[in-house]
Symmetry: C2
Subunit: 316 residues, 2 copies
């Protein structure tokens, strides 16, 4: 099992910088008052393709040899990684094929098509995604870039917190959403070298709490067909992401569906940025655990902003 | 008539920097493709109080002598200036009284109350606002900070484009919304010294086209009770703002109500930022006048993000 190192993170940042935005870090005195913490929001909703996934995908695509790249890339993804891989492949001028659940949000499908990616639809289960992808790759010979269980992707996602640390310095804590664990693994990878004393909290929907259960059990617990408004966080951990979660994460904190939506609308209204439900889970868990963050300097990764505004979840 | 100078802009920037955000400048390759221009969006929706108005109000409030400040400040405003003056007054620890039309958006009234400002409601006409304010000030002796017809406010608003120029350098054109003309006047004031060759376009709702009519006529034309979804742009020019508009603005470009709302949702969806209808008028007029901006480097001021999300205008 290939585990990325901090050197891989530095190399990834150099490799992808020409292709991605240096996203701003925003603050809100209102949300500071509300939580009792001083929060620095790293706004990856303002990233290329509207999500941090542009980082990992670009690192994987631009790290390929010309010979490997010629067969194109392929993946399965419920959304943002799909758009990100299509975006990076288009920049390099190679094919991207994406296996997506048929119930993926319309804006995420449109994003893939907008970047010239090829979509193959499947049932919304982990097993169906993987079988469909395997069949496709057997024919095309495309290089598989898994949305999180991939050392190149984890090193790419780590550049997000690398930039946060470059801009803000040491923090008391960082809170990021957890689905399959790619972003959290990158966060652990970057901070374990840059600022080992910074606490790392993973934020997860209570309805899709496989990472919380894994953390409690001390081993990977998987749950199939998890449902949440935070559609990017329904996937399960893998040994490569569990490697980081089990070693470096201080706790996995939970939020209900209503708490997630409330935090999302609060962010829209007060910060004037569109964030998707998955990105609201960190703020929701901070509001659930104020004593943990009282008076602390906290980094929060806003992971993405791809919401179908015409059918937005629980729109009030 | 007190006309601010470029030295006033430099002094304003130094005075207000401790109290305001250095707002990010965002780009969107999608909107560049759509317009044919290279656009740099100065995001004042991410400013304190959610609007550039924090600049002018802070400059006025923190420029007062202690003796003058003791009587508090007062103004009339349809919204963002009201919140901004209340915000600045609270920071200085003085009273703010705001005359608002009774039909002002709920989020804007809530913002004023949230900052501790005192609201006096009136009919939604220019005459009613001014009469109500005059009566109030006769009693309190408060220092009136007009939302745009005020040299201190214009110098404050000018710091927005001052920062844009510091970060991006010379631009071919800058497009900003025009209502009473405070922001455009500040833009003219900053650019006429920093980059006189940069063209300045004012963007106005076709339904509230007093500035366009004034520009055509060569003198101020006023229209009462103008209605537009761009609620911040219904006010008329004054001699102090006409001073700048008549000398430095290259054209006043118009957009329909539907074009404004389409540009607003397009910005929400593609840029992942919440902008209010007034802020969408520049993009709308650029889409109406593509030939004017083809291949050019264009600065656009996103003026604010205060939308009542529960009752947002024309929400789809």
């Amino acid at each position: 099992m290939d585990i990325p190192t901090f050197d891989d993170v530095v190399a990834a940042h150099e490799r992808i910088t020409p292709y991605i935005h240096r996203t701003p870090i925003l603050t809100s005195s209102y949300l500071n008052q509300l939580t009792g913490a001083e929060i620095f929001f790293k706004c990856e909703n303002l990233q290329k393709v509207g999500a941090f996934k542009a980082r990992g995908a670009s690192n994987a695509v631009f790290g390929l040899s010309d010979a490997d790249a010629a067969n194109g890339v392929a993946t399965h993804s419920s959304g943002n990684h799909a758009g990100a891989l299509s975006f990076a492949a288009a920049l390099r001028g190679i094919d991207a094929t994406v296996v997506m659940p048929h119930n993926a949000p319309a804006t995420k499908k449109a994003a893939v098509r907008g970047y010239g990616g090829n979509i193959i639809e499947c049932e919304p289960t982990q097993a169906a995604r993987e079988a469909t992808l395997e069949k496709e790759v057997a024919q095309s010979g495309a290089n598989v870039v898994h949305p999180y269980d991939d050392a190149r992707v984890i090193a790419g996602q780590a550049t997000c917190v690398l930039e946060l640390h470059q801009d803000i310095g040491d923090l008391d804590a960082v809170v990021a959403p957890i689905g399959g664990g790619g972003l959290i693994s990158g966060t652990c990878l970057a901070l374990s070298t840059l600022s080992p004393q910074t606490k790392i909290y993973a934020a997860e929907p209570a309805q899709a709490d496989d990472a919380h259960r894994s953390f409690q059990a001390g081993e990977i617990v998987t749950r199939d067909a998890q449902q949440s408004v935070a559609d990017g966080l329904k996937t399960n951990l893998r040994p490569r992401t569990w490697h980081f979660v089990s070693r470096f994460v201080n706790d996995v904190l939970l939020a209900s569906e209503d708490e997630i939506l409330d935090a999302m609308y609060l962010t829209w209204e007060r910060m004037k940025i569109i964030i998707e439900p998955s990105s609201a889970v960190p703020l929701a868990v901070m509001l659930n655990n104020k004593q943990l963050f009282q008076g602390q300097r906290v980094g929060v990764v806003i992971t993405g902003g791809n919401v179908d505004l015409k059918h937005c979840p629980g729109c009030k």
